[in-house]
Subunit: 494 residues, 2 copies
């Protein structure tokens, strides 16, 4: 909605500005201050126009990239229009009186983008309203029994104490994560009921009305949120983790490729630069992962996710992945630093490094698709094995690097006498070692990354067990067990 | 408040449980199911007791660690008690009617921990209420002029359109960061006024009353928040960044020291482990930095911070610092990995590595105190120079490593013939290069970290300029200029 408005607004401005611009050409002989003011206005107009059109494009892009956000807007509008019927329909109005307002308020405040957020707020609001309302009515009753002079004292003291304690409780991490909104509503409801009870006689009647309208508000918000194009926090988290894993894999492979193939490929550089910077997403997604996991626990079973789906384990997978991303970041830094290794060394190690990075990236991609499909991977063990082989190959390539160096750095290997060659080695080695430094760092970061990928493999394995991924692991492991038993038997027979 | 309650609750349980425990000894000859149930109850009780006492201790710790949080609780309680006077005092009650409720609601919802948060919500609420109220009254007027059958259609359509557009606008990053709460209140107020206007005739009267009570609520919340032990978002951000910088410095120095001095120091290991993990704070504080910076912009001038203090630059400093922290994390990983360098190599590089890490850490600490005191550092240029020297020293130490290796790895340097030594070198080098790998990685990560620290130096320099840190930079640079001018003159004379 907003996008179209903004865009057409931008067009409108364009017309207004271009038409007078043409006419100003005829008025050249006029006093300079008028033309200056005019120019300034035109400038301002065109700036405004460009700003509005940039803004409009940005808005349009957000809407086009994720239509679900536009749908969310329409859902909120629909829920509010629905709830406002309570005002228009006289019979209902007579039933609920002015507390129908609470239904509107509930819809506005409870309706969140994800089902988890909506349920979190709805359930928090319901529990907090009921408990605070009950407590307030109780304290009101006690206060009313204790005489007119004590009544305001008891009520004020209870408001002060409960509000202070509840506010402080929001600093506890568990309360903050799960009941933050509930505590706000608790304080609000308690204060309102306790305080208004001093004036309004029909307190319980009012409370029942208010609870009924809040329940209606929550029901409308929840049903529209869940039934019309629902966005599930759990699914978002699931996809986020699996997508981040793929991005990191691309990023790892991309930046090593960039480094070793730089001289050969230049055209595709820009696209690969964006590709190899995917690790930044992994570094920056902790906050959204945490909040999605917090909200996901409120969601009922949906799609492929059961009621007690292990959302916390996703956070562990994400933490292991971020652990890798730190190293990929450092790798990126080393690759883009000024110190460059000589081409001959790069050539010597190129294959081994690229093999390791591509094997590591394959493991991550396999894990990503395993999570995405919620199936245990058949090939993960083999891929991890290959990655470990690649580590050994890289280490071997390194061990043979000095031989290679003495051959290439000795200025003329055929002429060299024993003594000359010897002095060449020690000087060349000192320089060569310095020159090899960036390469060694890259190699050992690659090895460290592969070690950390093992951590991701383990975390995903635990996730697969906890979330009962479909799969072949059981058959496979049982066949392994059978094979081992047969081996044992064979050994005993021998 | 809550802490004492919890703790005394814990003690109460302790009594209840320990007394019957003693008496159960006498009842031994009773039937087994009773004693079993009893044991189970005792077990449950002691579990509950330990849980409550752990919880109580946790709560107590939070309160003791930051008394400001307890004070915040009391402040909210006081504000609510104050605002509830509007209900108790009859003259005011008669003036405002039941919309005094809105004052209570405003205080509950607007009162935040930091002044920035409170102002953000207060200003958002005020602007949103006014604009949405005005718009709703206008649309109501138009609707009332267009006949009874069109009225509900126009009102419903306007609620739907505005609510949808406003909800969608929350996905725009700038709106999300600055006006998220305002948009909620806008939707809420607009819906309430537009919808209730259909029934209630005295719309403007009601609006004025409501705005007045909301203003009173905001005024009470703000004045208590600002006047009683205020917590400023800006100051929090300022301290957070400077503290994180110090933590990273400690962490960098600590982990390099741990690595090179491990064999010598073992007692202080545990304390240094927590010290060297300070970098994790830097990695995880992005979300809180962002939110503090967002809130700080709402705050007026306070303490040493002017009205337009460059809060955004703090985020850049923090980003540069986080950039270092990624590398420190990778360094940590390398240091704790299984591959260990031989002691002789470690000894050879120890001094250079420790010099570099301590110099880097000194630069960070100097920057940290420069930020904390808001003074330009006198010695930062010298310290950066020293750090760069240390980088060169480390590179030199590396260049001399191979000579050192041939001396130490050749089994018997005195006996060695030319040929034997030669073969020794090529084998030893292959192995030695592999063994040197972790050390080389550590060294080159240290060099990379020092390069990234340069980025922090630059970011802090910009901050110092933007925030007009007091300082000696101007005198110093003017003396530099003078010296250069004298040099120029001398050169011209020659």
């Amino acid at each position: 909605m907003a996008t179209e408005k903004e865009v057409s607004g931008g067009l409108g401005l364009e017309w207004r500005v271009t038409v007078p611009e043409g006419s100003s050409v005829k008025m050249e002989p006029e006093p300079s201050w008028i033309s200056r003011t005019w120019n300034r206005l035109v400038e301002l107009g065109s700036k405004l126009r460009s700003k509005v059109s940039t803004f409009g494009k940005k808005v349009w892009k957000i809407g086009a990239d994720s239509p679900r956000k536009v749908i969310h807007g329409a859902k909120v509008g629909a829920a509010l229009t629905l709830v406002s019927l309570f005002y228009y329909l006289r019979p209902l109005y007579n039933g609920f009186g002015s507390s129908a307002m609470w239904a509107v308020m509930t819809v506005v405040v409870v309706f969140e983008y994800t089902v988890g957020g909506c349920l979190y707020k709805g359930i928090n609001r319901a529990i907090a309203t009921l408990s605070a309302g009950g407590l307030a009515v109780g304290i009101d009753w006690v206060a009313s029994k204790s005489g007119e002079s004590w009544e305001p004292v008891i009520l004020s003291a209870s408001v002060f104490l409960l509000a202070s304690a509840a506010t402080f409780s929001r600093f506890l991490p568990t309360v903050k994560a799960r009941f933050d909104y509930g505590v706000t509503i608790f304080i609000l409801t308690f204060s309102l009921v306790a305080v208004s009870g001093y004036r309004v006689e029909e307190l319980i009647n009012l409370a029942v009305q208010r609870i009924a309208t809040i329940a209606i508000g929550i029901a409308i918000a929840l049903s529209i949120c869940i039934l019309v194009y629902p966005v599930w926090s759990g699914q978002e988290l699931h996809l986020l983790v699996s997508r981040n894993m793929e991005k990191l894999a691309d990023s790892l492979e991309g930046c090593v490729e960039d480094y070793f193939m730089k001289s050969e490929i230049t055209d595709a550089k820009e696209s690969s630069a964006t590709r190899s910077e995917g690790y930044k997403c992994v570094l920056n997604s902790k906050a959204s992962e945490d909040s999605q996991a917090n909200l996901a626990r409120w969601e009922p079973a949906h799609g492929r996710f059961g009621f007690r789906h292990p959302w916390k384990q996703y956070l562990k997978v994400a933490a292991a992945l971020r652990n890798c991303a730190y190293c990929v970041e450092a790798l990126h830094g080393c690759i883009n630093s000024e110190a460059k290794a000589p081409e001959c060394m790069k050539k010597h190690l190129r294959d081994a490094c690229m093999k390791l990075s591509s094997d590591s990236s394959k493991v991550l991609k396999e894990l990503s698709s395993s999570i995405k499909l919620m199936k245990r991977s058949k090939s993960i063990d083999a891929l991890v094995g290959e990655m470990k082989n690649a580590v050994h190959e890289l280490q071997n390539a390194f061990a043979s690097l000095p031989n290679h160096l003495t051959q290439t750095t000795a200025s003329s290997p055929i002429e060299s006498t024993e003594g000359k060659k010897n002095s060449n080695i020690s000087i060349a080695d000192g320089v060569a070692l310095m020159e090899a430094m960036p390469l060694m760092t890259i190699a050992s970061l690659l090895i460290e990354i592969s070690a950390r990928i093992q951590g991701v493999v383990d975390a995903v394995g635990t996730l697969a067990t906890l979330a009962r991924f479909e799969g072949i692991r059981n058959e496979k492991s049982s066949s392994k067990v059978q094979a081992e038993e047969q081996e044992d038997k064979a050994l005993q027979e021998v």
